[in-house]
C-alpha cells in the first residue's frame, strides 16, 4: 500500500486543484487565495488521513453552513474512487489471475509440442503489459495519468465525447501493441488470447473511469449551467414534474443570492434630526466646538409584501412559483402576507407557513376555486386587509386579468394604489396578449405602479430584486 500512497502524494497537488475546480462547478465560490490556503492546509495535514484532510480542507474552503454541506458531499464524491479502487480492482482481477495461472501452467505441458514456449513471453518487457499482469497499482495509475494529460482529457466538454477520449488515452498508453498481440494469438493461442483480452478489458475499464471523472470535473458544471440557464427562461406553466427538483434548486440559489445581496443592508439609515446630547459630548475634545455633529437615525424599513394570487387553473402554476420564491426569502422579507382567490378571496399566510407550498396551493384551490372574479376578490381584499395597507406595503397581484366580462372594480385597485407604497401587477401572459379577448389588462395597467410580465423564473427574479431594492 505504501507505493501507491507516495505516487498519490506526488499527483495530489494537481488533484487538489482539480478538486477546487470541481467545487466551483458545485457553486462554491473558491477564490485563488482560498486555493492557496487549501494547498497549505494539505501540506500541513498530509494526504494520508482522509478524515483529517477533509476537516482541514473544509475549514479553508467551505465558508458557510450551506457550503459545508455541499463540500462534504463533494469531497466524498470526489475522493471516493481512489481509496476504493484497490479492493474493487482486486476482486475483478481475481478471475483473470486464475485464468492467467492456467496458461502459465499449460505451456510447460505443451512444451514438447510447441517449442515457442510461453506465448506471453514476447509481451513481457512491454511496460504496460507488465504493469497490468503484476497489478502494479502505482505504475498503472501513473501511466494512465500521464496518458490522460497527453490526450488533454481536461478539454472534454460533452458527454458523448467519452468514447473518443477513452480511445485517445488507450492509444497513448500503448494499447496498440497489446491489440496486435491479441489478434496474433486469436487463432494460434486461445488461452493467451483470453489472458490478453481480460487484461485489456481491465485497462479499458480504468481508462473509462478516468475519463468519466474528467467529465464530471471539467464539463458537467458547464452542462449544468446550460440546463439551469435554459430552465430559468422556460415558461413556468410548461415546467413538468421531472424538472421540478432542478427548478427548486435553482430557485433556492436565486433566493440565497437575493438574500445575500439585500440582507446586509438592514442597517441602512436615513439622517434624522440633530442628536444634541451626543454632539455636545463629541465636542469635548475640541473645547466645545461641535466639529462632529451627530444625527439621529431613521431606520429604513423593509417593504412588507402582500401577495394576492389568482389560483385558478391557468395561473395556478405561476402563483405557486411566486409564493415559493417569496417564502424562500423569509429571512429578508419576514412579514409577507399572502392571499389567494379564484372566485372568493382568503388569506393563506398561515397555511403557507405550516405546509409545503405545493400542498398549500392545492388546498387553497379546493377552498376558493371557481370562475375567476377579480371584482369580488378585490372587494374581499379591501374588507380583509385594506386598513393595513400603508406606505411600507408593496402589494403584488398575480393574475392574467381575464375577468369573464365581469366588472374588474378598478376603483378598488385605485384605492389600493393610493394607500400602498407600490402596487405591482404580474401577468404570466406576454404583453402582446394583454387586452385581447376578455383581458382587462390594459385598463388594469393604468391603475398600477408597475405591470410586468412574469413568464419565467428569470423575470420573476428580476421583479423581486426590484422590490427588494426599493426601500425607504
Amino acid at each position: 500500500m505504501d507505493s501507491p500512497n507516495t505516487a498519490r502524494a506526488a499527483a495530489s497537488s494537481d488533484q487538489l486543484l482539480a478538486f477546487v475546480q470541481y467545487l466551483r462547478g458545485k457553486k462554491i465560490p473558491v477564490s485563488p487565495a482560498d486555493t492557496l490556503d487549501a494547498v497549505e492546509v494539505a501540506e500541513l495535514v498530509g494526504y494520508q488521513d482522509r478524515a483529517l484532510l477533509k476537516n482541514g480542507l473544509a475549514a479553508a474552503l467551505a465558508k458557510s453552513r450551506h457550503e459545508l454541506s455541499v463540500f462534504e458531499v463533494a469531497f466524498d464524491d470526489y475522493f471516493q474512487p481512489i481509496p476504493e479502487r484497490p479492493p474493487a480492482g482486486g476482486q475483478s482481477d481475481a478471475k483473470p489471475e486464475v485464468s492467467s495461472a492456467n496458461p502459465s501452467e499449460q505451456p510447460p505441458q505443451k512444451d514438447p509440442a510447441n517449442p515457442g514456449e510461453d506465448p506471453l513471453e514476447g509481451l513481457r518487457g512491454n511496460s504496460l503489459f507488465d504493469a497490468l499482469e503484476s497489478q502494479d497499482e502505482s505504475a498503472l495509475s501513473l501511466a494512465i495519468e500521464t496518458a490522460a494529460a497527453d490526450a488533454k482529457v481536461e478539454e472534454i466538454s460533452l458527454f458523448t465525447q467519452r468514447g473518443q477520449y477513452v480511445r485517445k488515452i488507450l492509444d497513448a498508453l500503448g494499447d496498440e501493441a497489446l491489440r496486435e498481440a491479441a489478434i496474433e494469438f486469436e487463432q494460434s493461442e486461445p488461452a493467451a488470447f483470453e489472458v490478453v483480452q481480460a487484461l485489456r478489458e481491465q485497462l479499458r475499464e480504468r481508462v473509462r473511469d478516468r475519463v468519466e471523472r474528467a467529465y464530471l470535473i471539467h464539463a458537467s458544471a458547464a452542462t449544468e449551467d446550460l440546463l439551469d440557464e435554459s430552465l430559468s427562461k422556460l415558461k413556468l406553466g410548461n415546467v413538468d414534474h421531472s424538472q421540478m427538483a432542478r427548478l427548486k434548486r435553482l430557485m433556492d440559489r436565486m433566493a440565497r443570492k437575493l438574500a445575500a445581496r439585500h440582507g446586509r443592508r438592514r442597517h441602512r439609515y436615513r439622517r434624522g434630526k440633530l442628536h444634541v446630547g451626543e454632539t455636545v459630548r463629541r465636542a469635548i475634545p475640541t473645547d466645545g466646538i461641535p466639529f462632529h455633529p451627530r444625527w439621529r437615525k431613521i431606520e429604513r424599513k423593509r417593504p412588507q409584501i402582500m401577495a394576492i394570487c389568482d389560483v385558478s387553473g391557468s395561473v395556478a402554476a405561476y402563483a405557486k412559483f411566486l409564493l415559493m420564491f417569496l417564502y424562500a426569502l423569509q429571512d429578508v422579507l419576514p412579514r409577507t402576507r399572502s392571499f389567494a382567490f379564484s372566485a372568493a378571496l382568503g388569506e393563506v399566510s398561515d397555511l403557507l407557513a405550516t405546509l409545503p407550498v405545493e400542498e398549500a396551493i392545492e388546498r387553497v384551490n379546493l377552498k376558493y376555486g371557481g370562475a375567476t372574479d377579480y371584482g369580488r376578490a378585490l372587494q374581499d381584499f379591501s374588507e380583509l386587509a385594506l386598513a393595513e395597507v400603508n406606505s411600507a406595503t408593496t402589494v403584488i397581484v398575480l393574475g392574467d386579468a381575464r375577468n369573464n366580462q365581469a366588472d374588474p372594480r378598478l376603483d378598488l385597485l385605485g384605492e389600493i394604489k393610493s394607500r400602498a407604497r407600490q402596487l405591482i401587477w404580474l401577468n404570466p401572459e406576454s404583453p402582446r396578449l394583454w387586452g385581447t379577448g376578455d383581458s382587462e389588462m390594459l385598463r388594469v395597467k393604468k391603475e398600477c405602479h408597475l405591470a410586468k410580465e412574469c413568464q419565467n423564473l428569470k423575470q420573476l427574479e428580476r421583479v423581486i430584486d426590484k422590490i427588494l431594492s426599493d426601500r425607504r
Binding site: 485563488p32 497549505e40 492546509v41 500541513l44 495535514v45 483529517l52 458557510s64 438592514r266 475634545p285
Partner: protein, 331 residues
C-alpha cells in the same frame, strides 16, 4: 548594477517562511495533543475542532466559528487562552460599535490637562524667539508630544496587538456589529496591524490567535469570510454530549447522565422556538445534582423543565410530548 528593490509584496505569496514550524504556541502543535490539553482544561472537542485550532495556530489565520447559541463557541476561545497560557482579550460586538471603542481613542482629558499644566513651560520654549516664524518652528519640534503613545488609550483590538508573546483575541458575536465595523476589521485580521492617522501603522508584536464567533443572525461579508478559517459547531452527538456533561458535572451518576442527554436530544427533535444547547444541558444536570435526584422521573422533569427551555410555549409543547420524551430518555 543596482540591486532590485522589491517595492510591493506579492499578495499571492504567503509571507511565512515555514508554515510547518510554529514557535508561538507549542501547546497547539498536534491534533491529539490539542484534544488532550483541551480535555484537561474541561473542554471536550471533536477532531474537526482540534484540526481547525491546529491549522489556525500553524497558518496564523483567524477562525470564524458559527453555530447555534450555547454550543461552546466562546468557551472554545477561552479554553484556548487557558491552554496556551496567554491573556485573553475579548471584544463584545454590538450595534453601533465603532473604532473608538474597539481600536483606540485619544485621552482627550489628559491632553487638555497637560496643555493647561504646560502653559507656563511655553514661555521657556518660546523664550528669545524672534517673530512668528521662528516661534512656529520651535513649536513644531514639540508638535508630536500630544499625539504620542502616552496619550493613546488602547481598546481591545490594539491591546491584543500589543501583547508581547501573542495572546488570544476573541471577537464575540461579530454578526451583531455593523457592516462598517466588519470592513474595518479586515486590516486587523489579514495583516495584524492597525493604522492610526497621527502615529502611523502599528504592527502586532506577535500575532495573536483570533477567534470570531457568529450566531448566524446575518450573512457576513465574503471579504471577511475569505480571511478566516471556517468552523461550524453543530449540536453534539449523544456520546459527545454525555462526555461533556460528565466532565462538567462529575457528581451526576453515569446512568442519570445518559438518560438526561438522551432526553435533551429527543427534545431537540421537537419543533421549538429555541432548542436547548449544551450550556442548558449542563445547567440542568447541575440543578438535578442540587436536588439530589436519583432518577429522571416525570414529575421531576416537569418541575425543572424551565431550566432547559426558555420560552413558555416551548415548555408547553414539551409537556405535551412528555411520555414520548421519557421513553426516549429510557433508551
Amino acid at each position: 548594477m543596482r540591486p532590485v528593490v522589491e517595492c510591493w509584496s506579492d499578495p499571492f505569496k504567503p509571507n511565512r517562511e515555514n508554515p510547518l514550524s510554529n514557535t508561538h504556541y507549542p501547546a497547539l502543535s498536534g491534533i491529539d495533543a490539542i484534544q488532550q490539553a483541551f480535555e484537561s482544561a474541561g473542554y471536550i472537542c471533536t477532531t474537526r475542532i482540534a484540526t481547525v485550532v491546529r491549522l489556525a495556530a500553524a497558518l496564523e489565520k483567524p477562525v470564524l466559528i458559527e453555530g447555534p447559541p450555547g454550543v461552546g463557541k466562546t468557551e472554545l476561545a477561552k479554553t484556548c487562552a487557558m491552554v496556551v497560557d496567554r491573556p485573553l482579550v475579548r471584544l463584545q460586538c454590538y450595534e453601533g460599535l465603532d473604532e473608538s471603542k474597539a481600536l483606540y481613542e485619544w485621552k482627550y482629558g489628559k491632553q487638555l490637562l497637560y496643555t493647561q499644566l504646560l502653559r507656563e513651560q511655553l514661555g521657556d520654549v518660546l523664550d528669545g524667539a524672534k517673530g512668528l516664524n521662528e516661534s512656529m518652528n520651535r513649536l513644531h519640534q514639540f508638535s508630536d508630544v500630544f499625539y504620542s503613545e502616552a496619550f493613546l488609550e488602547s481598546r481591545p483590538l490594539l491591546k491584543a496587538m500589543e501583547e508581547d508573546n501573542g495572546g488570544v483575541l476573541l471577537i464575540d458575536e461579530i454578526d451583531k456589529a455593523d457592516f462598517e465595523f466588519e470592513s474595518m476589521l479586515l486590516e486587523v485580521l489579514s495583516d495584524f496591524q492597525v493604522s492610526i492617522p497621527e502615529l502611523g501603522t502599528i504592527q502586532a508584536h506577535s500575532k495573536p490567535l483570533v477567534f470570531l464567533t457568529s450566531n448566524d443572525t446575518r450573512d457576513l461579508s465574503d471579504a471577511l469570510k475569505r480571511r478566516c478559517l471556517h468552523l461550524h459547531i453543530p449540536f453534539p452527538s449523544i456520546e459527545l454530549e454525555a462526555r461533556i456533561v460528565a466532565s462538567r458535572v462529575p457528581d451526576l451518576a453515569q446512568s442519570m447522565t445518559d438518560q438526561l442527554v438522551r432526553f435533551v436530544h429527543a427534545i431537540r427533535s421537537l419543533d421549538l422556538k429555541k432548542a436547548p444547547a449544551i450550556s442548558e444541558t449542563v445547567d440542568w444536570a447541575k440543578s438535578l445534582v442540587l436536588l439530589h435526584a436519583k432518577d429522571l422521573d416525570g414529575s421531576l422533569v416537569q418541575d425543572t423543565l424551565n431550566v432547559l427551555l426558555k420560552y413558555e410555549e416551548d415548555i408547553q409543547i414539551a409537556e405535551g410530548q412528555l411520555p414520548k420524551l421519557m421513553a426516549a430518555a429510557a433508551g
